[in-house]
Symmetry: C2
Subunit: 391 residues, 2 copies
């Protein structure tokens, strides 16, 4: 029988952070697209939109008026998913299978920039550094509030992700408990530290123990670029399409040179490197299909900042960002997580290695910033790197 | 402090089948809708579409020609996600965190009916019974093939679920391993049987042990209808919005009068009851927003039919169907599982109890089958049952 070929033979890959698998069907990338297509994204946004509830000076749905902000703006969500503590105690369960856990917290909205039309991909690196400083500040503020045990920073971008306002912004939900997915990831990071000896060359987690993500990132940056999953890296951070990626062009962004539990632990040099690579990957995303690339992004890290009374074991968390973008073949053909994927297991056709190769071939000059006169060929994908069956 | 009120206070509910939680934010149902809206579904489909690759006598993308079928038609998917066994052995992992498991199997497509325009909601009950017989036949056939350890029957319906062909059809993926979600559910059913004593009144699982779903369904059918989660039931099956539902109008459909591991174990009377309730819930779904209601549906059951050499513990599986429909407020406003939900935990505003009440208020006469002359009021939702903030 033929030898196993990961670009031909269907297989499953394990996500060690969640314990879940993804079904990879690489032979299927040639099938014709028979699914729904998406409408094109608007590409000529104004710098200021009088009807946008996030633009400076405008009035929000809840009635409050925005500052004439010049950099970033943060405010509490007028329709928060959780309410501030304290809340009433849990009711008695009518049956042991029907349990209720009350949850409290707060939801904040962070506007990245006053300009209505500038996403992360089009902001200058110092503007992105300012956003990271705001993330650190809100993580520290909310994470130190009485009763808050988890802070989730995330960005939901693009109409196909249900977000109809293109004004660049993210959200921060702070909760009295750790949600399902980050709780599972943290449990697996802790289990890995207990069950595995650290490798000689990778950075180590707390108390010299093995860190799953230190080990994983260290391995990935060592793979020959042409066959690996690394999209781009700098001295401190690496962006890669993880071995177990579900979304076609999913990226995990994480520090690989030392174990860093949270954004509050970044040095100023690391913060600059973080801002710089955020700019690089969002530009590559937009350039992949010459559109404003939709995604959900989330920061996973230590549930809340370190406090004196804390158990040290939450330091097993390793700061990382997930980018989950739905686009698959072009600006109007997306992946749907439905059918078999909702009922059984996520599935992908394009391999993570093929996706990384496509993203490596993208320019870091934003397509809207290139002029007809500028030489394009040097930075643009070459036919060698692009799989034509997926274009 | 006020007493806990599940229609006001944010809380989390545990899904005992998966071990995951859902965040319920019932106070938030009043927020204005600022998200993306969906285009209307076509409502005037022809009975036969010469361009449809599933209509009788037409040619499929792979080149094969469909029979002039009169009832159902089954064929192997021309672009299957998995390939038939045997396949090559697993390669060596380049790192313990990067494991590969080869997978084999087959993918079938089942056309429910020759008519291009008739979904489950518009088929006669005997036509639905015939579909159930086809499901049983393919479950037996595929599940008894060498190397097949799991059979997933599912239907993906509607353009907003990525399915552009409205011709009524479902799929069956048969695999050499049990996928992540059903594996987790089966493990939790087995654990429940080991750790819990059966209640006196509920049906029992294999060897007289407790079955999580027998216990749960038995509890739900005993709750007063006006405050419960049951949408509709008959002598053998109950359709309910589960306590832990993620999708706004999610339904779990399952037998509650005895423990039934798979569709192969149904008596003919139970099969008729199954067809009848499938008709009832799909009609209610279409009537909820007067549109062809999009959803993903999947059958969870014993991984494959019982064989002599099998361990009996797979009989801990309890046949159930999941319906995951995305529509939220009307025919064009859907829920997106993005942002916080992708990064942290699923979240809902409308409570499962409110959703069940809305579905109970729907007619079982399909809206396309009512005429202007017919009296509508008796069967239509009354203002009492409808939460106007969600309409
Ligand atoms: Zn993570
Ligand atoms: Zn299930």
């Amino acid at each position: 029988m033929a030898e196993f070929d990961p670009t031909t033979h269907p297989h499953r890959r394990l996500n060690p952070l969640t314990g879940e698998r993804v079904l990879v069907s690489p032979h299927r990338t040639k099938r014709p697209w028979l699914g729904q297509t998406e409408p094109p994204q608007p590409s000529d946004l104004p710098q200021y939109d009088p009807k946008c509830y996030l633009c400076p000076g405008n009035t929000r749905a809840g009635g409050a008026k925005n500052d004439e902000y010049k950099q970033t703006m943060i405010f509490e969500n007028d329709y928060a998913a959780v309410l501030p503590p304290p809340g009433p105690a849990a009711p008695a369960a009518p049956h042991p299978l029907l349990t209720t856990e009350p949850v409290q917290g707060g939801c904040d909205v962070l506007c990245f920039h006053p300009r209505h039309d500038l996403t992360l991909a089009r902001l200058a690196v110092p503007d992105i550094e300012r956003i990271i400083e705001e993330w650190s500040a809100i993580y520290n503020k909310r994470g130190n509030q009485e009763g808050i045990e988890y802070v989730q920073i995330f960005e939901n971008k693009g109409a196909m992700m249900g977000c109809s306002n293109p004004h660049p912004h993210g959200q921060v939900w702070s909760l009295s408990d750790v949600p399902s997915l980050p709780a599972t990831e943290l449990a697996n990071l802790k289990r890995y530290a207990l069950q595995n000896a650290p490798s000689a060359s990778a950075p180590k987690g707390p108390e010299g123990k093995a860190c799953l993500l230190c080990e994983y990132a260290h391995f990935e940056v060592g793979v020959a670029e042409s066959e690996g999953r690394v999209v781009v890296k700098n001295e401190h951070f690496v962006a890669l399409v993880p071995w177990w990626a579900i979304w076609p062009f999913e990226i995990m962004l994480l520090p690989y040179a030392r174990h860093i539990p949270s954004i509050a632990d970044l040095t100023s040099e690391e913060r600059s490197a973080f801002a710089s690579i955020l700019s690089q990957i969002t530009k590559r995303y937009d350039n992949l299909f010459s559109c404003s690339f939709a995604y959900s992004m989330g920061i996973h890290q230590r549930p809340v900042p370190r406090k004196a009374a804390d158990a040290a074991d939450a330091d097993a968390a390793h700061l990382h960002l997930h980018f989950d973008p739905p686009l698959l073949r072009n600006a109007s053909v997306r992946k749907f997580l439905v059918g078999f994927e909702l009922m059984a297991e996520p599935q992908r056709d394009l391999t993570p290695e093929q996706a990384a190769s496509r993203l490596r071939a993208c320019s870091e000059v934003h397509y809207l910033d290139t002029t007809e006169e500028a030489p394009k060929t040097a930075e643009n994908p070459t036919s060698k790197d692009v799989d034509p069956t997926n274009s």
